[in-house]
Homo-oligomer: 344 residues x 4
């Protein structure tokens, strides 16, 4: 297979490059960038010396259409335009931006503060939460790859929400992320001296991943209502943890719910349910495509606390994109993604 | 004034030493330790070379009783015994452990897994949440200095709970702390390589600060019910953030609540309410006795999110202890505590 | 005293603001900035909420000339021009940039890649390495405040070089710094995700602090020759360590050299010589104006290794500037600077 | 191949487990531990849930002798005894401790403060600095795997020392390491709150890796004399950088030396020489078996500065051990070790 990465110089792009360069079914992987074309990739990423001799190329739509697959790791706003132009070519498209995730253009406009993609494009986009949408992904030509927070949140909630075990209006998601989620562009909020030995909350109730979470919850349970969603910046590079609170409809034990999760994800090689009483930490999935989950009932309040962790650049971006590519091309889901966590 | 610190070699103890050594009303500050007596303090803490020439002394109850004040920075379990022996002497006692915070011995036994202090001792203990209990603290001979999490949580909740603006059964507290809260004793969970670039959740629904929070909420609103409380370890040394979620009884705006908080804390020099739309970060109170708070209404869900940050070793321990001492001895509340944050 | 800070919005500026706001001899401290005038200072630095209500003012040379002292915390290149205009006014000037440190304009041009200050200005500038130049500093109207690396290096070398105990051509300085030395302006090299869990070397043999070190060594020993100087970026915010290697002229023991250092710095309240066998770490001077030093003879090679640590923003910048101000105005050297390290 | 890891629960052990579990020529990998036998490995390392179902076994010498290879990742002192007992069996032995690296028992006794291995054992041990000793390694039954600091130091020095381009008595090695080098056993010096935002120097002139470096230098140039070697602890988990200073015998340019290094290592897939003017950082080799090197001549002093970086747990321990195993069993050197750095 011949594939291309657009937006190859960001953190999502370089992680895609790493995964695809080591993927057994990929013959060539072309790197595109709108700003740095002509530059050698190693100049952008010196850690690749000896591993990459590619140059970054200018966007070439006609060339890209002839590839087998194109990964769009460009900012929201740009992606929808590029997708519109690429559709109809040979290449299957996996879009890592937020542009194609919301089916309702009004939601997009409200949360992304810009014009939504055309309905014709949106209509072709399949939401790529791999574990929960395998059938559609296998048939898709266009994937809207999920956001990092929605991935961690939705995998944590799927069993309970699909089975309607939570009061729909009770969901609170307290999300925490490392800094790499903010990308490679320097800014005061990602400046080392402002970030190290610091813990911040940001975009309180205003994060653009909120409607993405709510849209999927509604597909699982039409009675779903808005969630409370907050995001925090942790002084580390990689990793997301979501701590999710909800009210149980019926009294249930931690053990029962643990078993429910074990069963629900028994065929999902990248979801690991922790034994009762054990909780995952972000470092335990560092460098992998895993999503680790734990559940604990709070008997005193009738609530349940669900904890999930992912590596935001892998399961939260590039890894899930490759996982989706695998399904789209009839490959084993885990191809090229069987990593052990780097520990410590 | 002549004061003593018992348990002087822990992080709470060394922070007390720093504050009291620079306090204008303190003449001598004696350092006690049950394990390291005879050692020079600088040997334990080389950063004090040239600043301290004290030796750490063995516990001497009779000597300690003659001091003006004794700070107990010893582990729960030990503190209650020492307090019992010191009571009745000249010295006023400020206990930084959890031993005297819970008035109900059964609660203590359940959450601390050990025998509670005598009721006669508990009966004399005044809860030292300074901003909210000034009258009693001024008269007290024995202070139960609040835990770090309860301090950040209760200051964030006081205005809303006292005015009964939240549904009593809706409170969820997602707390995050730096590693210094775990003390100076090495363990795998505070080992650098296990902790750096890592985010962990621990003691889910089981943290011993839970009943301390609930007890105070009940004093403010007798209809209070159990809260959901979770704690997370952040890869940083100092700092606590609590993100608190609750349901509003009535529809209210962020601006109204902000004003309520401004008014409530208008006479509290160490509580800083952030302007609407701005959120505090832990580094912004690093090295100070401040508690910074922000409030935001989530109009879509009818909930409010409250964020508070403190330096866990200062407002969460040693600083609040000195603040209480100031009140107990008729000093200005801020004496010896007027620090600017160290930034960056 | 009334003082002003130019370049108040950088890290050097905000640290000066903290020190001067708490200095007992300072009545008013005016904040100037060329870019942000009119803005409230708290907007730049939210951690100062409740502590500062100043607005940042535009540069006003005539006003500044009437102050008692002006601190220039502006970039090299700008400082020399401003100094030229301010000279002759009432205000004594303390320049924290590199513009006035090198007496030889050719050196400046070579290392700073720009035109040097006028000789008339340079002629008035006194090098403010406080411990080693007290007489001249007390008489000065214009101080060239030393660089962070030269401060740590020169204090570590002064006793040995002044007494000609090292082969002049044998000096190698391996310097390490935290990220705050790079200032507040975001860039890829100070971007959190590029910096955390990373160790870099930079400006190998090319750092502009090299000639500043060599100039002072030559004053102490005219036979001094160029040194080898390298600098490394450590994933922490504050702190500098220099590890310095030199060949002893005569065989000497660690104990002898330790005593020499103790004697040399016996009247220097901010230099702490560590006992034989103990080495300082950067955290042990965090938040202070201390420079801690240790010496160890390498008997097998005839070399000596000298280690020094400072807080780069205090003894390496703002603290030493205030220390110099104290001397210039006949105050006790330690006024407003008696801090305990924040530990841990 | 069937292999075993003794000391499997330390950081060296778990990294060996990761590499060997993913090695295409390994059928089974048995985990041994003297203290934790019977425990499941996942209990020690929860990040391996779903990836490992092994139990840790008690040491079984007879069983181990029948394996193809045994990796000893046990502390110095224990290793030499175990090796003596295993020799003569079928299993080839790769010892990661310091016990077999020093051929002179007196050196061992002086630096390791304990009795050396028997000369009969030492006589069979081949020093496993893979790039520089391939012939002997291929024939060896017993490998003394190099220390982390010697690996980074010797690869950086080999071209210059073998060609006698440096004054033998001029070598100074300023080494810096992340905390994982200290192992998994908790101690105050690896306690997060003592380590974060801190930079320390330790074992000045006394590190036990000193004679290992000197022994190899002497093999390359018999005129070699003692080096000055210091080690620093960097607040990060993985990574070593050595900054090495030496005096050039002849005047040479950076470009000439760069070419010499390129040529010297042209057949070494894991050594990457950086282009002139570019320096490697530790993060650029994170998670790989690479050693990246840069050289810069200091024209003003006649010295050269050489910089090398490795991942201390891979090229500095487990990775090099597997690289040696590959050679010993006639496999391609890079088998199972072709990793891209995890970046950022």
């Amino acid at each position: 297979m011949n594939v291309g990465i657009v937006g190859s110089t960001g953190y999502g792009g370089v992680e895609l490059h790493r995964l695809l360069s080591n993927h057994p079914s990929i013959d060539t992987c072309i790197l595109y960038s709108s700003t740095l074309n002509g530059n050698s990739y190693v100049e952008q990423y010196p850690h690749l010396i000896g591993l990459s001799n590619e140059s970054v190329r200018a966007i070439e739509l006609d060339e890209m259409k002839q590839l087998d697959a194109v990964f769009l790791a460009v900012p929201a706003g740009i992606s929808k335009e590029m997708t519109a132009k690429l559709l109809g070519g040979k290449a299957k498209i996996i879009d890592l931006s937020g542009d194609l995730r919301l089916q309702d253009p009004k939601e997009y406009e409200e949360w992304y503060k810009g014009g939504a993609a055309d309905l014709s494009v949106l209509g072709k986009a399949v939401y790529g939460l791999t574990e929960c949408n395998q059938g559609a992904i296998k048939e898709a030509d266009l994937i809207a790859n999920p956001g990092c927070f929605p991935t961690a949140t939705l995998l944590a909630l799927a069993p309970l929400v699909q089975q309607k075990l939570l009061h729909p209006d009770s969901l609170i998601i307290d999300a925490k992320t490392g800094l790499s989620g903010a990308g490679r562009k320097p800014s005061l909020s990602s400046h080392f001296s402002e970030t190290q030995e610091n813990l911040r909350i940001y975009k309180v109730h205003e994060h653009q991943h909120t409607p993405e979470i709510e849209q999927q919850l509604k597909r699982w349970n039409p009675e779903s209502t808005p969630v409370t969603f907050t995001t925090h910046l942790i002084p580390m590079t990689r990793g997301i943890m979501t701590t999710i609170y909800g009210e149980l409809v019926n009294e249930q034990t931690t053990e029962e719910l643990n078993e429910l999760y074990q069963t629900f994800y028994s065929a999902s090689p990248f979801v690991r349910i922790r034994p009762t009483g054990q909780y995952p930490s972000t470092k335990e999935v560092f460098g992998t495509n895993f999503c680790d989950i734990a559940i604990k009932v709070d008997c005193r309040t009738g609530r349940v606390t669900i904890v999930s962790v992912i590596d935001n650049l892998i399961k939260g971006a590039a890894g899930q994109a490759v996982q989706n590519m695998n399904l789209m091309f009839g490959l084993e889901e885990t191809t090229g993604l069987r990593f052990y966590p780097i520990y410590p």
